[in-house]
């Protein structure tokens, strides 16, 4: 294209401002026409000098006189050199893609916004948001902005590349050449500046000084800048002091410092504790350790601790045995192969282990056996009871010479005498009958127990203890003599006085105990129809006996649901006895029992079994009674400290209860003799939920022999020494300590234990218990 001379394009025609669109068209046309040196007399038109690509590679110079509008050099091309002779408005060099733009005065906001290539030289100051959103495309040189004076607020926001140089000339009066908060969001490029500054975004930019290469670059380029704005004289001033120049560089992503500068440990030490004092907020109120702990802790920091509670609770069998028999202990001895010892143990507790445990007792021990809670059969204690016939009599304690009169040779009297004898005292039994044994030998049907068992056990006792047969009921006078003669009197006369309800015709009835006494001797006679008034266990015994003696129909009536149970009830039912209740007797005639509801029960024989009372006619008035029974305290002591009373004379009960009362009274008397104050509280029964029954075979229907009983006993509350706890403990914290002579204990190493409770969960016998650890104050 041939050379074209400079061309001037005016911004107004005939005094009227040319529209920005028209001016742009004219400029583009001039470039297309080959003009490469253009002068504009601007009248505030926008966007002058941009997009002049039609010049191709040829350099194009544009001088702007007058008043330039916004966006001078916007989208400028690399061939374009714009010289604004004066100040410029907003957004100089917006999206500049290569133009060199010189402003001979100040420029307002937005200089170099989004510039990617090219240079902008400003001979004065610039407004806010200069050098924002700038880019650096690696295909080209980075863009540059040179400012002779200072920049406005929010400089270099989101600056992503390029170089800015702020010379600070003429700003000696200012305390800030960078404006308010520059570099927010800056991610690339650098800013050379000379002069004071205030806060900048430290998160995004790093303050440093130019290195040698940067300093050299600055010196060389400075000459170019000053020449462009025709201020070359300033070169010396601007390059004389390298120390006056600083550099802000965008932080690399990995250099970003979003996090607070002071860490919390330091803050606590340097600020918190410093202000509040050692130990912080509550250091003055407590010296308790508050340092962090793990979720799983040992030692004092455990929330729960296991206890080995061996034999701290009674097994239910023993707890429910009125005699207080150590049932579980006997099975344990058998498990240890000490069969004889297990058998012999019996005589320390009762003179009738075979008769009562083996035959006559309803076996409250078995009724309460824990195994039944797991649908397992109770351990059969009668097997061991029967085996007790062979028990060896233990040697009594050394003789004390203390004498006790025991009035009554029934179960209670024999029990107390037996125990007192074992303790070294001298009991003398006073029995009005020819035979000892009370109800056992007198009224309990033979079908319930073989004679040889009773004979054997009575003989064993009689060989040990002296007794007198009074052959008549005790008189008051005799009682007074005994009282004088003996150290202690024990009343165990039983309840032999039948209660008879005074209905019309009651003279006809037989008292149940009398009937049973006679029937035992086969002297009783019954008619075809027998009616028994009172359907308790005694009534049941009478029913069974009546049937045995030939009665064809036996009817028991009661005013309430019959209280009978166990073998007695079963025997009566087996004999075909009918039970009727609630029924009330109106009259007893020669042939029948008439009830209040009008029913007539044919009756050849009528037996009254509504309970018995003790015959206490011998008792001095000073000894308190209530409703016909002797009043005692929990040690079976009467209102006269020298007189004790036990058995049915105190309260009607089971044989085992009479035996138990004898044991307690003997112990109290022994304490009295020896001057001891003892508590009679027994250990509490174990919570059977602690015992694990899953370890036992659920399929065994019943026990065949004492050995299988011993194996099946759950050993409630007493350690079997199985070692399961030692094995299951996940921390290896439990160990068995041998205490010598067969004694042992299991202990826990607190420093290993985490309080998981596995020992408690696994223990077959319920020995281990997990409890809350003591409060830490």
């Amino acid at each position: 294209m041939p050379y074209k001379p400079p061309i001037m394009i005016p911004g107004s025609e005939k005094g009227i401002r040319v529209d920005s669109r028209i001016l742009e068209e004219r400029i583009q046309k001039a470039v297309a026409d080959g003009y490469r040196n253009i002068e504009i007399i601007a009248q505030g038109q926008h966007g002058i000098g941009g997009r002049l690509w039609r010049a191709g590679d040829e350099p194009l110079t544009m001088r702007i006189l007058g008043t330039s509008g916004q966006r001078v050099g916007a989208m400028g091309f690399p061939n374009t050199m714009i010289d604004v002779v004066g100040p410029a408005s907003d957004d100089v060099g917006w999206l500049n893609a290569g133009a060199r733009i010189t402003i001979r005065g100040n420029a307002t906001n937005g200089v170099a916004n989004a510039m990617a290539q090219g240079k902008i030289f400003v001979a004065g100051d610039i407004g806010a948001r200069g050098m924002t959103m700038t880019k650096h495309n690696p295909r080209f040189d980075p863009p540059e902005l040179w400012v002779l004076g200072s920049v406005g607020d929010s400089f270099a926001e989101f600056m992503a590349g390029g170089i800015a140089v702020i010379c600070g000339v003429g700003k000696e009066w200012s305390d800030n050449v960078l404006g308010y908060r520059p570099c927010v969001g800056m991610v690339g490029g650098k800013i050379f500046f000379r002069g004071p500054h205030q806060d900048y975004s430290e998160k995004d930019a790093r303050l440093t000084v130019p290195d040698d290469e940067e300093w050299r670059w600055l010196n060389v380029q400075m000459e170019d800048f000053l020449e462009a704005i025709e201020r070359a004289a300033l070169l010396t001033e601007l390059t004389a002091d390298r120390g006056a120049w600083k550099l802000l560089v965008a932080r690399k992503p990995y250099e970003k410092t979003g996090a607070p500068v002071r860490n919390f440990h330091r803050f606590r030490a340097e600020v918190w504790d410093q202000e509040l004092g050692k130990g912080g907020l509550i250091g003055d109120l407590t010296d308790q350790d508050r340092s962090p702990v793990e979720l799983i802790t040992t030692g004092d920091l455990r929330r729960f601790i296991p206890l080995w509670e061996n034999e701290k609770y009674l097994p239910p069998c023993q707890a429910h045995c009125p005699t207080g028999f150590p049932v579980r202990k006997r099975w344990e001895l058998i498990r240890k192969g000490k069969m004889q010892e297990a058998v012999d143990l019996a005589l320390s507790y009762t003179p009738f282990p075979a008769a009562i445990c083996g035959y006559l007792c309803p076996n409250l021990c078995m009724q309460n056996c824990t195994r039944q809670k797991g649908d397992l059969p109770a351990v059969d204690v009668t097997l061991l009871g029967k085996a007790s016939l062979q028990a060896a009599v233990p040697a009594p304690a050394p003789a004390t010479g203390r004498k006790i009169a025991v009035i009554g040779g029934g179960a209670a009297g024999l029990s107390v005498a037996w125990q007192l004898h074992m303790k070294g005292h001298e009991p003398v039994i006073h029995e009005m009958r020819r035979q000892l044994g009370g109800k056992i030998t007198e009224t309990i049907p033979r079908s319930r127990i073989p004679d040889e068992v009773v004979d054997h056990e009575l003989k064993r006792l009689e060989e040990e203890i002296p007794h007198k047969h009074l052959k008549h009921p005790l008189t008051g006078e005799e009682f007074r003599k005994l009282y004088e003669k003996y150290d202690i009197i024990v009343i165990a006369v039983g309840a032999r006085k039948p209660r008879i309800i005074p209905v019309p015709g009651h003279e006809r009835v037989a008292a149940a105990l009398d009937f049973l006494r006679e029937s035992r001797l086969d002297r009783a006679k019954v008619g075809k129809n027998v009616v028994i008034i009172g359907a308790g266990n005694v009534g049941c015994d009478a029913a069974a006996e009546a049937s045995r003696l030939g009665a064809q129909s036996v009817t028991l009536i009661d005013i309430q649901a019959p209280a009978s149970f166990g073998v007695e009830r079963k025997n009566a039912e087996a004999a075909g006895a009918k039970f009727l209740w609630p029924r009330f007797t109106k009259t007893i005639t020669e042939t029948a029992v008439e009830l209040t509801d009008g029913t007539v029960l044919p009756a050849d024989t009528v037996i009254m079994a509504v309970g018995d009372q003790p015959d206490l006619s011998f008792l001095p008035e000073e000894i308190k009674t209530e409703k016909g029974f002797v009043v005692v305290n929990e040690k079976f002591q009467t209102s006269d400290p020298k007189v004790f009373a036990i058995g049915d004379a105190v309260r009607l009960g089971l044989l085992t209860e009479a035996i138990g009362a004898g044991r307690v009274a003997a112990r109290a008397i022994d304490d009295l003799f020896r001057g001891r104050e003892e508590s009679y509280d027994q250990l509490p029964a174990i919570d059977t939920e602690r015992v694990k029954l899953e370890y036992y075979d659920p399929r065994l229907p019943r026990f065949e022999d004492p050995l299988s009983c011993a194996a099946g006993c759950a050993s409630c509350g007493a350690c079997r020494d199985c070692g399961l706890c030692e094995t299951i403990c996940p921390q290896n914290a439990i160990s068995r300590q041998d205490l010598g002579e067969g004694a042992y204990e299991y202990t826990v190493d607190a420093e290993l234990c985490i309080g998981c409770g596995f020992c408690e969960g696994a223990c077959p016998c319920g020995i281990w218990r997990l409890i809350e650890n003591d409060t830490l104050e």
């Binding site: 927010v184 500068v261 929330r303 649908d375 403990c729 596995f758 969960g761 830490l776």
Partner: protein, 544 residues
């Protein structure tokens, strides 16, 4: 079942419980960590029977049985040991062999949790997962209509005013006459609502306080913490950190003699005094700190002997009317600091709130009103109070604000809203909604416990045993074995992270609305909701 096989009315199976503990025999290594960590002993080692039939193929031999026993983790089913779903077993299990899962149908435990005739009590929030606040959207996005701001770039002044602000005419008059100008605090709009020393563990409380101090002094965020009713440790009262504290006085008046004794030694005034009349979680009900929780430390701070019951009655015993309560209490509390400290009441959100508000507008000493909605949390309350009592916060805030607008005092008596803010994690959005409905700021508690200490409580009734002192995270326990699980420094750090994140989110909400230097209090034209009746009730846009 009962071991004796007896079925009782309250005999429950695992299926009847809210949570079932799933246990894998195959993965379990019987290490004991789960039973050791379980807060309520809901699991134990169980002994189990096992039976395997031995059958030869072809049936040529007589089949047999092999019986045996194995050990495993068993869930207890009695009411007192029902699993609470906290999941600590899962957390400690090295093999992921155990985990509680929520029942897929309503549990039966709820019908039996009144053993002994005592209704259920618990901690946590109303068991209702939904939140109206979550449904509110910010629909007014500034673009070309007015300058949009950039949350990442613009500097924001997210501050609010706590205190009675005089109208311009009044302010001029008072300053001309050199009269009394009510104290006003410029604070962060997020306030940590009343959580007492006692309700929270010492480590939790100290951690939060430390975080508050850090935010104020290192991060330049003027956030405040309300002590709740339990006094304030003497050292804090005498430190410069007191200015970050709002001291609460409630019907139990615990710890106030210690505060009074500290008056001469205070380096700073407290931020404000909050008079608590009610709590959103249990409106109209008081509280009782059981004697066994009143240990040496709590006793010292509350100024009571160790081991006594500490009742906070439902009402202030000597205040019989609004007039009296407001007049007496606000004036007296103002006097304590020479009228230099703002004093405001806090009530549970209620349909009678406007009566209280109107009264406050006529009292020149009233510095504002805090209202706590039905979704607020608590350390202990009757389940019935928590689930069924109370008023939603959004509508009551709106009513209160519009009432102030009606009498021209919307810029004079600030309203602070609390109760369920951030219930489902949307802390900033819920806060912004309430602010735009008219609140000057929000009070949060439960969210803070969840975010800063990993509180496991949920509105599907997970954990929620704050009331029995067995908090598995050590947040609400006074047992050092539990609260030492919590490191105060870590709590402080999490509080700072939480608030910084809230700050960014709040900016992300208010920047597009074109706000950066004043909170958009009452800017309800920015809000929209799809529920037409909610839109009408709240006076915001119905958007679908």
């Amino acid at each position: 079942m009962e071991p004796d096989g007896q079925l009782k009315p309250s005999t429950l199976s695992t299926k009847d419980l809210p949570w079932q503990v799933l246990w894998s025999k195959e993965k379990c290594s019987l290490c004991g960590l789960c039973t050791a960590v379980c807060p309520v002993q809901a699991i134990e080692l169980g002994v189990h029977r096992k039976r395997v039939l031995q059958i030869t193929l072809g049936l040529m031999e007589k089949p047999g049985n092999v019986f045996g026993v194995y050990h495993g983790i068993r869930q207890r089913t009695d009411v007192a040991h029902a699993c609470i779903g906290c999941g600590m077993c899962d957390m400690v299990c090295p093999n992921h062999a155990i985990m509680p899962v929520h029942n897929d149908e309503p549990d039966k435990l709820r019908f039996h949790i009144d053993q002994g005739g005592i209704p259920r009590r618990r901690g946590g929030r109303r068991n209702a997962p939904g939140s109206l606040l979550d449904e509110i959207k910010f629909v007014r996005i500034s673009m070309l209509t007015d300058p949009a701001l950039d949350a990442g770039r613009h500097e924001f002044e997210l501050r609010t005013l706590l205190g009675r602000i005089l109208s311009p005419e009044e302010a001029l008059r008072v300053s001309r006459e050199a009269g009394w100008i009510p104290p006003v605090r410029e604070i962060y709009p997020l306030i940590l609502g009343g959580m007492s020393f006692g309700a929270l563990s010492p480590t939790m409380w100290e951690g939060l306080q430390m975080g508050i101090a850090y935010l104020n002094e290192e991060m330049n965020i003027p956030i405040r913490f309300c002590t709740g009713e339990g006094g304030c440790p003497p050292r804090l009262l005498r430190s410069r950190f007191l200015k970050y504290i709002i001291l609460q006085i409630a019907s139990g008046y615990f710890g106030w003699d210690e505060i009074i004794h500290a008056l001469p030694e205070m380096k700073e005034d407290p931020c404000a005094i909050e008079i608590k009349y009610g709590q959103g979680a249990k409106p109209g009900d008081g509280g009782l700190l059981m004697w066994y929780k009143v240990n040496k430390l709590i006793a010292a701070i509350r100024g009571v002997p160790v081991g006594v019951n500490l009742p906070s009655p439902p009402t202030h015993q000597t205040k019989y009317s609004i007039e009296e309560a407001v007049a007496k209490m606000i004036q007296s509390m103002s006097m304590a600091w020479g009228f230099r400290v703002p004093v405001y009441p806090k009530i549970s959100a209620t349909s009678t709130a406007l009566a209280v508000l109107n009264n406050l507008t006529r009292n020149p000493y009233a510095a504002g009103l805090a209202m706590d909605g039905e979704d607020g949390g608590t350390g202990a309350a009757y389940n019935v109070s928590m689930d069924q009592m109370g008023h939603p916060i959004a509508s009551i805030v709106r009513d209160a604000y519009l009432n102030l607008v009606k009498i021209g005092k919307q810029n004079e008596v600030p309203i602070f809203a609390g109760g369920g803010i951030g219930k489902n994690g949307n802390l900033a959005a819920n806060a912004a909604s309430l602010i735009m409905l008219g609140a000057s700021g929000v009070q949060v508690g439960k969210y803070i416990m969840q975010a800063t200490a990993g509180c496991l409580g949920s509105e599907r009734d997970r954990c929620n045993i704050c009331n029995i002192g067995l908090c598995p995270k050590g947040i609400t326990s006074q047992d050092s074995r539990l609260y030492r699980r919590l490191d105060p420094e870590k709590v402080a750090e999490r509080l700072v992270e939480t608030v910084m994140s809230f700050d960014t989110e709040l900016k992300k909400i208010v920047a597009p609305l074109g706000r950066s230097t004043s909170l958009p209090i009452g800017m309800s034209d920015a809000l929209g909701i799809a529920d037409k009746s909610a839109a009408e009730r709240l006076g915001i846009r119905h958007v679908i």
